[in-house]
């Protein structure tokens, strides 16, 4: 199908052009900025178009471009899955590239925007290729280029030590996951004799069970690290916040989704399903990531770190759906598997959208206040109303509240898990509802967390000078956010119209089309498919809410008309003179949860009182509290410790004595003479 190929090629060309053009004119920041952003916009637009075409077309299209390396050919295959992920890429990228027009302006003259543009486009390019590569070699290359470009962007402010450390952590973890994938693909290639994805499916059948296990573990490690599942998540909250915010949006929005893509592609397509224990493992890891992710998020008062932890949580939710799907597939319920897959993929798309939205929002807050620390914010809703509104929508969406898109995908996940109870024999079925309840916990905690995030950032009185004289972000940034806000609403309310987009994918991976089963009630109502007959209609809910609020509004209006309403000072139980100092803070807000889950957090606090006469009349009190980063402290630090101690011990080998050096050779020789000569 020519047009698809054309458009796809064009979008890739746009990214390439953008990369080199903006690098070329790095001496002219403004020009570089325009080139970077508009090229990205063009590329994303074309990419999105290609994606829609690809999805509608269903049947995969394949191209093979001869590479300059005789060993391998660059072969692409544009199937429904690729199309879907390209769509999930395109939507945020459109927003981000519009946003960047305004966002990058302040960097002009300060940083090398040309180089930024180069890396940015490299990232987009590698993402696009990673989603469409049909060849392990090409996939790995794009995979690693993606990691390196992201590394470059994360360490864009490399003067800051924390940033450098974060970047290193990120790129090293990324390299480790690439290593796992290398081994995994090595197995498959060995079995199939070719690096083409298409050939893996048959080959995977011939693998011995131990090899299959090895392959699964390797791929799960590799993609899991990339997706930032717990316990491989430590790089994520370190790296995403320090990047420029428009990049953080992409990193959290789509880059970590490559892990999800990889799992879907390999587990469902190449390996052709995995044993049920593997599916269960995915499910459980998902649950753990979701709950722990949100729990850690609650303790953050760095706005961007908080969002980063929520990415972990949402990856967890996605994995719940995916894991369920894998289990169903093995258990022989392709239909259920398809529904589960839809749930997972839909949440992937949604998270891509609202997480980008939230990061962009955080970006414009950072842009106008210059701080990421929520404790210094507050009252921003007055200076920056639009940003506040967009952020609020994002918050509602990510908390999975109706009628927005987050709710819909979580609802589908619930339904999947419920169906699992009926579909899976044996004791394991218990896990499904339990997972469901954990999902409920996650959702509620997320809501709590975003109440905190939104309220402390945007509501009440400003807590710091920066937020007192904050200003609204430039229009382009607002447009970018507005686009995503619309997307959140549209995907929520109009879910029933978008569902058919998933058919091609489920058809391709599981041989099932489910949208027909998922939509009832004149195309307005979303239904849970076959086993459990739950239904919901975000559209009607939204309308209903409005309709029911009208009379209330009427009542209030009448009341106000007759009895008046006036603005007055805060009553506050009669305490006069409310000031920012005695406002509730983010730390205070999460205090209750910190104490309830103290087993997990191991919170530490220190209070120092400075006083003249008696400790009962302190002049000033310094309060500091924090939680123990369990995984970093208990898992990674000891490992690193061990490696370095071992290495330092090893250094005595090279102690400078030539006699020792000769002795090594001598001993080796003698040993080889003793053992090597005889057969």
């Amino acid at each position: 199908m020519l047009p698809l190929g054309m458009i796809f090629a064009l979008s890739i060309a746009a990214y390439l052009a953008g990369a080199f053009a903006s690098l070329a004119c790095w001496r002219k920041p403004a020009l570089a900025r325009y080139i970077c952003c508009s090229a990205a916009l063009a590329g994303a637009g074309l990419g999105g178009l290609a994606a829609v075409l690809g999805i509608l077309r269903g049947a995969p299209v394949a191209w093979s471009v001869p590479s300059g390396i005789p060993l391998f050919a660059y072969s692409f295959s544009y199937d429904a899955l690729a199309g879907f992920f390209n769509l999930a890429l395109a939507i945020p990228v459109v927003a981000v590239s519009i946003y960047s027009f305004g966002y990058l302006k302040e960097l002009e003259g300060k940083r090398n925007i040309g180089f930024f543009g180069f890396l940015f486009h490299l990232l987009l390019l590698s993402l696009t290729i990673a989603f469409t590569a049909a060849n392990a070699f090409l996939f790995l290359i794009s995979w690693e280029v993606m990691a390196l470009a992201a590394y470059g962007l994360v360490t864009f402010y490399h003067e800051d030590r924390e940033t450098r450390r974060a970047g290193l952590l990120y790129v090293i973890m990324a390299h480790i996951d690439a290593g796992c994938l290398l081994l995994g693909f090595g197995l498959l290639i060995q079995a199939s004799g070719s690096a083409e994805f298409a050939s893996f499916h048959k080959a995977a059948m011939q693998l011995s069970s131990s090899q299959q296990t090895a392959a699964f573990v390797l791929f799960f490690l590799g993609f899991g690290i990339k997706a930032g599942v717990i316990p491989f998540h430590i790089w994520l909250p370190a790296a995403h916040p320090v990047a420029p915010s428009n990049v953080s949006a992409l990193l959290s929005g789509i880059v970590i989704k490559t892990g999800i893509y990889g799992m879907t592609r390999i587990f469902l397509d190449s390996l052709g399903g995995v044993p049920s224990w593997a599916g269960l493992l995915v499910l459980i890891v998902g649950v753990v990531s979701a709950v722990l992710g949100v729990l850690y998020a609650l303790m953050e008062h760095d706005l961007k770190r908080l969002l980063a932890y929520h990415s972990i949580e949402n990856i967890g939710i996605i994995l719940m759906g995916l894991g369920a799907g894998l289990i169903f597939r093995v258990a022989g319920h392709p239909m259920l598997a398809a529904v589960a897959l839809v749930a997972a993929m839909f949440h992937t798309l949604n998270h891509a959208i609202f997480k980008s939205l939230l990061f962009l929002g955080a970006g414009s807050v950072l842009h106008s206040t210059g701080t990421r620390n929520m404790e210094e914010m507050g009252g921003l809703i007055r200076p920056m109303p639009v940003t506040a509104f967009c952020f609020l929508i994002g918050a509602v969406a990510i908390s999975g509240l109706p009628p927005l898109n987050g709710f819909v995908s979580e609802w589908l996940t619930y339904q999947t898990l419920l169906a699992g109870f009926g579909a899976i024999p044996g004791l394991t079925r218990i896990l499904f509802p339990l997972a469901g309840s954990m999902l409920a916990l996650t959702g509620a905690l997320a809501a709590a967390c975003f109440v905190k995030a939104f309220a402390i950032t945007f509501l009440a009185l400003p807590r710091g000078a920066e937020s007192r004289n904050a200003h609204e972000a430039p229009r382009t940034m607002l447009i970018g956010m507005g686009w995503l806000t619309l997307a959140c609403a549209a995907l929520g309310l109009g879910v029933t119209w978008f569902l058919p987009l998933f058919d091609a994918m489920t058809e391709q991976l599981l041989g099932q089309q489910v949208s027909a089963h998922l939509v009832t009630g004149h195309g307005l109502v979303l239904s849970a498919g076959m086993r459990t007959s739950g239904t919901v209609s975000p559209m009607v809910i939204a309308v209903g809410l409005v309709v029911l609020m009208l009379p209330a509004a009427l009542l209030v209006a009448v009341g106000v008309r007759r009895f008046g309403r006036k603005r007055g000072p805060v009553w506050d139980c009669g305490l006069p003179g409310l000031s920012a100092e005695n406002e509730y803070t983010a730390t205070a807000f999460s205090k209750a949860l910190r104490m309830i889950f103290s087993v997990l957090y191991k919170p530490r606090r220190e209070i120092q009182a400075v006083f003249d006469v008696s400790p009962y009349f302190p002049k000033e009190i310094r309060f500091e509290s924090g939680i123990e980063p369990t995984f970093e402290k208990r898992l990674y630090a000891p490992l690193q410790e061990f490696i370095f101690r071992f290495s330092s011990k090893m250094r005595t080998i090279q102690a400078g004595s030539i006699h020792a050096y000769l002795a090594y050779i001598f001993v080796t020789l003698v040993l080889l003479l003793l053992f090597g000569v005889r057969k």
């Binding site: 390396i69 280029v145 003067e159 450098r164 090293i172 081994l183 060995q190 490696i643 290495s647 080889l672």
Partner: protein
């Protein structure tokens, strides 16, 4: 004719250097000589590709695809190094380092320069001889020659440390090579019975390769062990690697680069030649096991030193130990894939490593130290080009895509899998990961960070353009390998595998 040219040009350039008085002349002669050598090497490649192996003086000199490859790489490396050397030594002279060296040597700065510009062609001559000699004895003589020439390079600066390094290099190298000689003698002995009549040409590889099947097996086994240890010492395979960090951190950068690439290739070339014989005589099994053992050992030994390294010159040395380990491992994995992987790796290594050395050289001349501790970081501000190139080549040399090493390592991994060495492959990959981490931690600390306010470097054109040009080559290599080069490599693979 070409063969003679390849040998004579450098041989002539050496004494010429002694006659010349002015620095510029020396530089010109060197550049010209190596340019010609490179051209001739290209010619040789063309000939070999067109009409098979070339031989001369009834098979005294012999060049097949394998030798052509090594010749090409050596020529390339020496040419690039000679370009960089100009800028490097001019800076050394300006900063008075040479004058210091001269005091120690008791001679003038120009004499010092002349010493370098005379030694380099000799080294190149030896390298060419290694690749072109058919007679394994001459091969040995030539390799010994590279050692003798490079010993002077190592003691170039005449500091106490450089004497120490030179001593270690000479002694360990000497022992190693005498093992290699013993191996050669024993090979001859094991062939003696089989060859009988044409015993006079009895050390000619082409002859040996023909009848290798009938050699005396136990002798051959002993011979191969000695050869492995001998040329392994030269290639810096653990546990014979100990001279490398010392020698590399003392020699002047261009010389060190030559050692790390050209000389390394020569040693591996010798190893490969004997590997072919032994695998024909004893079957691949015997050699493979040893090679894999030593290859992994070298990689493993390099890792901790790379992780905790205080000195970036030594870091490069360990990286080259790591790489020779990789190549030996690949040879051990064997099979078409393994050999292909090895030769590709050798090619990429010869292209990439010099850049790494040049960047390190620029940094060292910029900071007047080779210790990480003394460097404040943030070099990207004062030397953007070198800084960027350094980061890039670090990624390249640690084998991360899209740079070329990824291709070879991918191939080697496949070879490992098809050999059924799953566990070894896991080790291989995890070593690569660790090396990557170590390297990146060190180099980013060096290059990135706040601006320490150093004066602007990257001014000398010679240094700048050699770095920039080579950087371009490295990047391009990641996406495009010239078809003839690949054909050459495949030809070489054919020689090693099929015979």
């Amino acid at each position: 004719m070409i063969l003679l040219g390849l040998l004579i040009v450098p041989l002539a350039a050496a004494p010429l250097a002694f006659l010349l008085r002015r620095r510029r002349m020396l530089e010109v002669v060197n550049l010209a000589a190596f340019a010609i050598v490179l051209a001739l090497a290209g010619g040789l490649v063309a000939v070999v590709l067109r009409s098979g192996p070339v031989s001369m003086w009834d098979g005294f000199f012999y060049a097949d695809a394998l030798s052509a490859l090594v010749v090409l790489l050596s020529a390339f490396v020496s040419f690039v190094c000679s370009i960089y050397a100009v800028g490097y030594f001019r800076h050394e002279e300006r900063s008075g380092v040479l004058q210091e060296a001269e005091k120690v040597g008791g001679r003038l700065a120009v004499d010092k320069l002349r010493e370098y510009y005379a030694l380099m062609p000799l080294l190149v001559f030896a390298m060419m001889l290694v690749a072109l000699a058919n007679n394994l004895g001459i091969l040995w003589v030539a390799v010994e020659g590279t050692t003798l020439a490079s010993v002077f390079l190592v003691m170039f600066y005449g500091r106490e440390t450089s004497l120490e390094a030179a001593w270690k290099y000479a002694i360990i190298g000497g022992v190693g090579l005498s093992m290699a000689l013993f191996g050669t003698i024993l090979t001859y002995y094991s062939a003696y019975g089989a060859l009988g009549t044409d015993a006079l040409a009895g050390l000619n590889w082409s002859v040996l390769a023909r009848n290798a099947a009938h050699f005396d097996k136990p002798t051959m086994r002993l011979a191969f062990i000695l050869i492995l240890l001998g040329y392994g010492t030269k290639a810096g395979i653990a546990p014979m690697h100990t001279w490398k960090p010392e020698a590399y951190s003392e020699a002047p950068i261009p010389g060190a680069a030559m050692l790390a690439t050209g000389v390394l290739n020569c040693a591996l070339y010798g190893l490969v030649r004997f590997y072919i014989l032994s695998s024909k005589c004893l079957g691949p099994q015997f050699g493979s096991r040893l090679l894999i053992l030593f290859g992994l050992l070298s990689m493993g030994v390099a890792v901790p030193f790379i992780l905790v390294q205080k000195n970036f010159r030594r870091l490069l040395a360990y990286s080259s130990i790591d790489h020779s380990g990789i190549m030996v491992l690949a040879l051990g994995f064997g099979g078409p894939l393994g050999i292909l992987g090895m030769l590709l790796h050798m090619t990429f290594h010869s292209v990439t490593k010099p850049l790494l050395f040049f960047c390190a050289g620029n940094v060292q001349q910029h900071l007047n130290t080779d210790l990480f501790r003394k460097a404040k970081g943030g070099l990207i501000h004062s030397m953007p080009l070198t800084g960027a190139a350094f980061l890039m080549v670090t990624l390249a040399v640690t084998g991360s895509p899209p740079f070329s090493f990824f291709q070879s390592e991918f191939t080697i991994l496949r070879a490992g899998f098809s050999g059924g060495h799953f566990v070894l492959a896991v080790f291989f990959v995890s070593f690569l990961m660790l090396v990557f981490s170590g390297f990146l931690v060190h180099i980013t600390d060096l290059v990135l960070g706040e601006n320490p306010g150093l004066p602007r470097a990257d001014v000398c054109g010679w240094k700048k353009y050699s770095v920039a040009g080579l950087a371009v080559v490295v990047v391009v290599m990641g996406f495009w390998i010239p078809a003839p080069l690949f054909r050459l490599i495949q030809g070489a693979v054919g020689i090693v595998v099929g015979g």
